[in-house]
C-alpha cells in the first residue's frame, strides 16, 4: 500500500470508529425523560369532600331588585299573582313571549320553538314541569334542562361542562359547581358575546398584516 493510501485508510477507520462510538453511546444512554418506567398505580383515597352546586339565590321568584338584611335578593313568589287573582286564573296561559303586553314585558326570549308551558306548570306557577307532566321544583331546574340537553348534562355529570372551582382531588378539598341557570339564562340560554381580556404585548409582536 502506498503511503497516501495508508493515510486514507487511517482516516476512514477513524471516521467509522467515531461514528460507531457516538451512536453506541447515544443508544446506551438513550434519550431519556424523567418519567419512571414502572407503571404507577392509582390508589383511591377514602373520604371525599362535598361538591356544592351553586344555585342562584331567589331562583323561581320575580326579583324585585331589593335585598334583605343578609344580602339575599328579595323576590316575589309567582303564586302571589298567579294563584289568587281571578283574572289570571281564568285567562288561558300566554304561550309566547311576544304576547306579553302588560306584565313581564322585559322578558327576552330566544330558546328555539319552546312555549311558556313547555317548562312552566300551567296550574302552579311556583313549579316547573317535565314533558311528561312531572312537577319539578325550581331548585331542581337542572332535571328539566337535562331532559332535552342530555349530552350537555351527561358531560356535566362527568365534570366536563359548566366549569368548577376548588379541588380536582376531592379527597383533599371541596368543589363548587354551577347550576345550569347560573350561566345560561333559561329564556335566552345562548352565551352573550363578551369583550376579551387584552391581547398579548410580546416584544416585536405587531401583527399588521
Amino acid at each position: 500500500m502506498t503511503v497516501g493510501r495508508k493515510k486514507s485508510l487511517y482516516v476512514v477507520v477513524a471516521l467509522i470508529s467515531g461514528v460507531i462510538l457516538a451512536v453506541g453511546i447515544l443508544l446506551l444512554f438513550g434519550k431519556g425523560n424523567d418519567v419512571s418506567p414502572e407503571p404507577v398505580v392509582f390508589e383511591p383515597k377514602g373520604e371525599l369532600h362535598e361538591v356544592v352546586i351553586l344555585t342562584p339565590p331567589g331562583i323561581g321568584t320575580l326579583r324585585t331588585g331589593l335585598e334583605d338584611l343578609h344580602g339575599n335578593p328579595i323576590g316575589v313568589a309567582c303564586s302571589t299573582c298567579h294563584a289568587d287573582r281571578a283574572a289570571l286564573v281564568d285567562t288561558p296561559m300566554i304561550e309566547h313571549a311576544a304576547d306579553l303586553k302588560e306584565f313581564h314585558t322585559e322578558l327576552k326570549f330566544e330558546h328555539g320553538t319552546l312555549t311558556c308551558s313547555s317548562c312552566h306548570h300551567p296550574d302552579d306557577r311556583d313549579k316547573l314541569r317535565l314533558s311528561n307532566g312531572t312537577e319539578v321544583a325550581f331548585t331542581d331546574v337542572m332535571t328539566l334542562c337535562a331532559q332535552c340537553h342530555g349530552t350537555q348534562y351527561r358531560s356535566y355529570e362527568n365534570g366536563a361542562h359548566g366549569g368548577m372551582t376548588g379541588y380536582w382531588d376531592l379527597s383533599r378539598g371541596p368543589r363548587e359547581r354551577n347550576n345550569c341557570v347560573a350561566c345560561h339564562n333559561p329564556h335566552a340560554p345562548a352565551f352573550p358575546q363578551l369583550q376579551p381580556a387584552p391581547p398579548p404585548r410580546d416584544r416585536f409582536f405587531n401583527p399588521t398584516h
Partner: protein, 308 residues
C-alpha cells in the same frame, strides 16, 4: 526582528517601549471604563446564588435555605412578603388537561388568570397561555390570530388556547445542555430557574411556543404579587432565564385546580389525574373525540383538545 535597532534611550527605555507602555495603560483604562455597567450587577448577585446547586442535588435543608434567601430577595427587590415552599408531586398522579373547543369563546380569562397567578411581568402582559382565533373549517394555525381584540365569539371563528403540553416525550428536556429542565414524576416539565443558563435552546426546540424567556427583570407592583409561591413554579423569576407553564403545581400538587381552569367562564377546561379511572379527564378521553396538537412530532402531549 530579533535584534533591537539602535534607538535613543532614556534610562534604558526606548521610545518604542514607552509608547507601547502608554498604549497598554490607555487600553486597560478604556477597558475598565467599558466595564462600568457591570457595577449594577453586584447589587443583584451573591456568592450563595453563584454557587447554588441544582435542585435535584440539594438536601431539603439546603433548599429551605435557598427559599429563605429568595423570600428575602423578593422583599428587597419587590417590596412584597411572600412564602416560597417546595411542592412535591403527589404519588400515583399523572396530570392531564383537556380543552373543549366547542365551548371556548376566546375571552382570554384563562390567560389573564395565569398572568396574575404566576407573577408575570406586567409590562408585556406575559402569560403562558396564548389564545388563537382560528377560522372555522380549518386547523391551519397560519390562519390563526392571537392578537384579536373584538367581542367574542366572532362569527365564523373558533378559539384554541395553547399552553405547555407537558409532553411525555418533551423535546425541550432533551436539548437543555445543563439539565435545568426535566419531567417530574407527575408529568409536569419543570425548570430550575436558578440553574438555567438562558441559552434558549429549549425555546427553539418547543413545537408549541410554550416557553418564555425573561428578556428583562419582571416588573410587578408589590400589591399585585401572588404571595403563595413554589420554588419550581410561580416565584418571581430572575432575568435571563427561561420559564414555562407548570400546570400551577403550587396549586395542583395540593389538590386544587389550576388558575386557568377556575377562571374559565364557559367551563371549557377539564383537569385531573390520568391514572384515576374515575376522574373527569379520563371520562373525556374515553367519551369525546379527542386529538392532540402536532401529533406527528411524537411529543406525546398531556394536553388534549376536543369538540363536543
Amino acid at each position: 526582528m530579533s535584534q533591537e535597532s539602535e534607538e535613543p534611550t532614556v534610562g534604558g527605555v526606548t521610545r518604542r517601549t514607552a509608547m507601547k507602555a502608554l498604549g497598554a495603560t490607555l487600553g486597560a483604562a478604556a477597558f475598565a471604563r467599558a466595564m462600568v455597567p457591570l457595577q449594577a450587577l453586584t447589587e443583584e448577585t451573591s456568592v450563595d446564588e453563584f454557587l447554588q446547586k441544582h435542585y435535584k442535588e440539594m438536601t431539603p435543608e439546603e433548599l429551605r435555605k435557598v427559599m429563605d434567601r429568595l423570600e428575602k430577595e423578593t422583599l428587597e427587590r419587590y417590596g412584597a412578603e411572600v412564602e416560597i415552599f417546595d411542592a412535591k408531586p403527589i404519588p400515583g398522579v399523572e396530570y392531564g388537561y383537556a380543552l373543549n373547543l366547542s365551548v371556548c369563546v376566546g375571552c382570554r380569562k384563562c390567560a389573564e388568570a395565569c398572568h396574575i397567578e404566576n407573577n408575570h411581568d406586567r409590562k408585556t402582559n406575559n402569560s403562558y397561555i396564548r389564545v388563537l382565533e382560528m377560522e372555522q373549517g380549518s386547523m391551519d394555525m397560519e390562519r390563526g390570530n392571537a392578537s384579536y381584540d373584538h367581542p367574542v365569539p366572532a362569527p365564523g371563528k373558533f378559539y384554541m388556547p395553547v399552553q405547555c403540553q407537558q409532553c411525555a416525550n418533551p423535546p425541550c428536556v432533551d436539548v437543555c445542555p445543563v439539565q435545568a429542565t426535566w419531567k417530574e414524576d407527575d408529568g409536569i416539565v419543570v425548570v430550575d430557574y436558578n440553574w438555567c443558563i438562558g441559552c434558549r435552546y429549549c425555546e427553539a426546540a418547543c413545537p408549541y411556543h410554550a416557553r418564555r424567556f425573561n428578556w428583562s427583570r419582571p416588573e410587578i407592583a408589590a400589591e399585585e404579587v401572588n404571595p403563595v409561591q413554589a420554588y419550581l413554579s410561580n416565584r418571581i423569576r430572575p432575568k435571563g432565564v427561561v420559564e414555562k407553564c407548570t400546570f400551577c403545581l403550587h396549586r395542583t400538587r395540593e389538590g386544587k385546580h389550576p388558575a386557568c381552569l377556575e377562571a374559565c367562564p364557559t367551563g371549557a377546561r377539564v383537569f385531573g389525574n390520568l391514572l384515576d379511572p374515575n376522574s373527569e379527564i379520563r371520562w373525556v378521553l374515553e367519551n369525546k373525540r379527542v386529538y392532540i396538537l402536532k401529533e406527528e412530532l411524537g411529543t406525546q402531549p398531556r394536553f388534549f383538545y376536543y369538540f363536543d
